[in-house]
């Protein structure tokens, strides 16, 4: 049985966890995530109330992410990547969070930072982030609102969090062959439809500079 006093304590407890995680965010370390097509991950603990589409596939053993952090990453990736990629993810053809888990297992030094960042994304309420419920429980439009707040924030850590999650979502999805249904990328060595030779063949057009022929080329000043 709970009373008003217990409710306040509960609220304070709920706020404490994300704010402690926030305070623990090492900005420099976290910025490394955004560097290149690198990192993202998330938090620990169980996944009792996660919505079913965000849960790891049955029988899959996570190496670095927890079920909750898997879900937060997957939820963010679905919104960041857009509708058609999200449909491909929903079909099971690509599992961005599962791929992120595999990457993070090789990047242990980043896993802890990622863990904190995703914990903040999931749990931090207003005024830290423009939401009152966990990120994974928001509808798509509200999730976009949170992501947009991160993207356009004046705060370094928020932008770093956005760039880190986005970079890793792009890495895990667009490195997977099913993503070619979105991009029409023929693959690294060409395809039957688009060969490398075809791609290199085009009309120079009149008066357009050409690369030098080997015989008359300058050699770099």
């Amino acid at each position: 049985m709970t009373g008003p006093g217990d409710g306040r304590a509960e609220l304070e407890a709920r706020l404490r966890e994300p704010l402690e995680a926030l305070a623990g965010l090492d900005r420099r370390t976290f910025l490394r995530l955004a560097a290149a097509v690198a990192a993202v991950g998330l938090a620990p603990t169980g996944c009792g109330d996660l919505s079913r589409p965000l849960a790891p596939p049955p029988g899959v053993a996570l190496a670095s992410l927890t079920p909750r952090s898997y879900a937060v990453f997957q939820a963010a990736a679905l919104r960041l990547l857009g509708p058609k990629p999200a449909a491909i993810v929903a079909s099971g053809a690509v599992d961005p969070a599962g791929l992120a888990d595999a990457w993070l297992a090789r990047l242990p030094e980043l896993a802890a930072t990622l863990h904190r960042g995703l914990l903040v994304l999931e749990l931090a309420p207003w005024p830290v982030l423009p939401k009152l419920r966990p990120f994974t429980r928001l509808d798509g439009r509200s999730q976009d609102w949170v992501l947009r707040d991160l993207m356009l924030s004046a705060s370094d850590w928020k932008r770093a969090l956005f760039k880190g999650v986005k970079s890793f979502a792009c890495l895990t999805f667009y490195a997977s062959p099913p993503s070619r249904a979105v991009t029409r990328y023929p693959g690294p060595f060409g395809s039957a439809e688009v060969t490398i030779a075809d791609a290199m063949r085009y009309d120079d057009g009149p008066g357009v500079p050409r690369g030098p022929d080997a015989a008359d080329a300058p050699d770099g000043h």
Partner: protein, 497 residues
């Protein structure tokens, strides 16, 4: 640390196998020295280069972030160093840069007689050759088209390749083996002369005693998991450091070397501008970079504000990651990948950064763009947009989160004269890094003399881009190799081995 330990003894140990280290190792070994090369990254032979964007990025690159400007920093971390993942572009060292190194840094040795022969040698050793029409893809072609329409100076860039198959995988090691990285040139040459190359060996500290370098303490890493598996000590009276700018100064600082180490770091800050055309571009095939707009360069006699524009490849992951925004709008942009062209600004930064040691002992590069740098980045961004519209682009996507694509060149007029807010950029990065253990003449305060010798420590030499006193305004591969050849020749001549 856990695991067994072993000790090697040699005449010289060279830390790094890229453009700064491999030429020195080859020189010393060919002069009769016993040499050990240490490489923190793995060794992947050409047959192991799969072309997979994600896998190769993970295995061949190291990533870092500059505090302050927030720039992403990329470098090679493999046998071959950055020469294995670069675009193979070759530019001779600009005479204006050499003049400034002589005048402002006291490096009087770097005159035509002292440096040009090594540039020639680097040109030959790397097989630099002109880029002909067969290797100018449409991505490069539209850049040339736009420059031509605007009357801007532009040219094809020579590359260090032999038998390029137009795979477009230069940044992932070049699976065809055409690129003349040090993995294909100086490393085999060094090995033929007896050099022992130890890959997956991270140099942790240089042991200095009695004012002289004595040994390198290293950790051997598991090639896949990157976890430590053993300790290695290499004892040698000569230690040559060429771990790349992200590695060299931090290693020297960890080893207790002071006197200006970690200071005066310069970058070429870059950003991407993407354009959509009506016809397919297929910018993922062909050389990753081949064409330069030199109109705004301040070197090689151009006298501009100090940035180059160069086309750059469009692989799915890198392109998607750099495009601004997210969600449906982002998807709409990347869904047109075959029709996208992309170019970058290569800014000759005015800013100078420095490595600082954080509370946990990790060196971090502190770097803040100057107001002038931000204005020139903005100018470069607008110039590329104008160029693409001149080439017939249907829309231009600037790397600014929250900004919709431009549909017409008129929209650029409203942007001209501004200054880039680095916080708003979807990606700012640098792959050309310089300094941190720079050479300088007597009285310059630089940590190294004109031959890369660390002042106050006998037998310790820096031979990579960390030794260069400033950025070069052009892709620096040839300059780094030339300087390493110069230092290697001097060490061999002195009998340092």
């Amino acid at each position: 640390m856990a695991g067994p330990s072993s000790t090697l003894r040699a005449d010289a140990v060279v830390i790094g196998t890229g453009a700064g280290g491999a030429p020195v190792a080859a020189h010393l070994a060919e002069a009769g020295a016993q040499v050990v090369m240490l490489e923190a990254g793995p060794r992947l032979e050409t047959s192991e280069l799969t072309g997979g964007e994600a896998e190769m990025t993970r295995r061949l690159y190291t990533l870092a972030q500059a505090a302050g400007s927030g720039l992403s920093l990329y470098a090679g971390a493999c046998v071959g160093g950055s020469t294995l993942i670069n675009d193979a572009l070759c530019w001779r060292t600009p005479p204006e840069v050499l003049a400034s190194w002589r005048d402002a840094h006291g490096l009087v040795e770097l005159d035509d007689a002292g440096f040009a022969p090594f540039v020639d040698q680097a040109w030959r050793d790397l097989g630099a050759s002109p880029t002909g029409r067969d290797h100018v893809n449409r991505n490069a072609h539209v850049l040339a088209l736009g420059a031509q329409a605007l009357g801007w100076a532009n040219e094809a860039m020579p590359r260090s390749v032999q038998g390029c198959a137009n795979l477009g995988l230069c940044n992932f090691g070049c699976p065809s083996g055409a690129k003349q990285s040090t993995l294909r040139t100086f490393v085999p040459r060094a090995e033929r002369a007896g050099v022992r190359v130890v890959a997956d060996a991270r140099a942790d500290r240089i042991e200095i005693a009695g004012g002289a370098a004595r040994a390198v303490e290293a950790t051997l890493l598991d090639t896949l998991s990157r976890r430590p598996r053993a300790a290695l000590r290499v004892e040698a009276p000569l230690v040559v450091v060429a771990a790349g700018v992200l590695g060299t100064a931090p290693l020297l600082l960890r080893s207790g070397v002071a006197g200006g180490v970690g200071e005066q770091v310069q970058l070429h800050t870059s950003l991407h501008v993407t354009a959509r055309f009506a016809e397919p571009i297929h910018g993922y095939y062909g050389p990753t970079m081949a064409w330069a707009v030199t109109e705004f360069s301040d070197v090689h006699g151009h006298g501009g504000p100090g940035f180059m524009i160069e086309n750059t490849a469009l692989h799915p992951v890198a392109t998607a990651s750099a495009l601004p925004g997210f969600g449906a709008a982002h998807e709409a942009s990347i869904a047109r990948l075959p029709f996208l062209a992309r170019a970058l600004v290569v800014l000759r930064d005015e800013a100078r950064g420095r490595f600082q040691t954080t509370s946990d002992g990790t060196p971090t590069l502190e770097h803040v763009l100057t107001d002038a740098d931000r204005r020139r980045l903005h100018q470069g961004m607008c110039a590329i947009a104008r160029l693409y519209f001149a080439a017939g682009a249907e829309e231009v996507i600037l790397p600014i989160d929250g900004m919709p694509p431009l549909r017409d060149a008129v929209e650029i007029d409203e942007l001209e004269g501004g200054s880039l807010d680095p916080r708003a950029a979807s990606l700012l990065y640098a792959v050309h890094l310089f300094g941190g253990a720079a050479m300088g003449g007597a009285g310059s305060g630089a940590p190294c003399d004109a031959w890369g010798r660390v002042r106050g420590v006998r037998g310790l030499v820096v031979s990579d881009a960390a030794a260069l006193p400033s950025n070069t305004g052009v892709n620096p591969q040839i300059t780094i190799v030339a300087n390493a050849l110069r230092i290697g020749a001097a060490l061999s001549r002195e009998g340092a081995a």
